[in-house]
């Protein structure tokens, strides 16, 4: 079903410029990821995307479960965390995860798009603030870095 990239059309009828497609990366290492999202659809979609890239992925649906999982000793190369979460919100969950000494790459993936939210999420400890949806142009360079395909900056 997947069309050739040059058949893709943007809403304005023109060609979409697509520097990345998901099949442009092959991971050499077994990377692990945690998806923290309170919305069932978004959580499963992000899990599906990460698994398609080859990451072993776990999911939780609230911030408290994420903190508990990390506190139990689970380690991840990548954490995707939403801002709006039940029980414990993404900002506080991020702060607590960082306070436990977790230094892995954390992406704040949220439907919020304001500068205030961006600054708050970055201050809480995420490495990158990403407005949903998380696309390959953001994810692929990060996965390459985590996989050691690029030197760390």
């Amino acid at each position: 079903m997947a069309p050739a990239a040059d058949e893709a059309k943007s809403g304005n009828g023109g060609q979409i410029q697509r520097p990345f497609t998901f099949n442009e990366i092959v991971l050499r290492n077994r990377l692990t990821a945690l998806v923290v999202d309170g919305d069932n659809f978004c959580r499963l979609l992000q899990q599906g995307i990460l698994q398609a890239y080859g990451l072993q992925t776990q999911t939780v649906d609230n911030g408290d479960a994420a903190v508990e999982l990390i506190a139990s000793g689970a380690k991840f190369d990548l954490i995707l965390i939403d801002m709006l979460l039940p029980i414990l919100d993404g900002l506080e969950a991020t702060r607590r995860i960082r306070a436990m000494g977790v230094n892995c790459k954390m992406l704040g993936v949220t439907a919020f798009s304001g500068e205030r939210e961006r600054q708050a999420f970055l201050a809480a400890g995420v490495d990158l603030f990403v407005e949903k949806p998380l696309g390959p142009e953001v994810l692929i360079p990060i996965l390459r870095e985590l996989d050691g395909q690029y030197p760390s900056i």
């Binding site: 079903m1 058949e7 893709a8 943007s10 979609l45 599906g48 995307i49 949903k132 949806p133």
Partner: protein, 146 residues
């Protein structure tokens, strides 16, 4: 209907969904994730989107009918809807969710009701078009392997 015509019609319908602004880039990513190992990935994701959307729409309708209006709750529900619709590339639905969010922020109940009607309308239209397109695409795929 012969194979070439099926494929051509499915491709035309797909192109129109993008040209008319119903779908955007994230949908292409979903299509690219579909392969022989996951032959029904797009349909599964879209079906999940329908289920999630139905739940959110019901929650929003209930919140809109409750007095006094809980704008925080409304904003949370619509925020979730915006997140899921943007993740699937449902551009018009996402745009209307943004408008709704602005009315929530302004605590404008009438505006919320009006814009929710727009959200719902765009969702219904998209769902109808997607169901037709995916059915055509499935028939075209079956005819390719026949």
């Amino acid at each position: 209907m012969d194979r070439n015509r099926l494929q051509h019609q499915a491709a035309c319908m797909r192109r129109s969904l993008f040209d008319q602004g119903y779908l955007d880039e994230p949908f292409i990513q979903l299509e690219e994730l579909q392969d022989d190992a996951n032959p029904n990935f797009v349909q599964e994701i879209v079906t999940l989107f329908y289920t999630d959307s139905a739940r959110l729409i019901q929650n929003i309708e209930h919140a809109l009918s409750t007095r006094p209006t809980d704008f925080n709750k409304l904003d949370d529900y619509m925020h979730q809807f915006k997140g899921s619709s943007s993740s699937i590339g449902a551009k018009k639905v996402t745009d209307e969710c943004t408008v709704f969010g602005e009315y929530c922020s302004a605590e404008n109940a009438e505006g919320c009701i009006r814009s929710f009607q727009q959200v719902n309308q765009e969702y219904v239209i998209l769902r109808r078009k997607l169901e037709v397109y995916l059915q055509m695409a499935k028939q075209a795929a079956v005819s390719r392997t026949a």
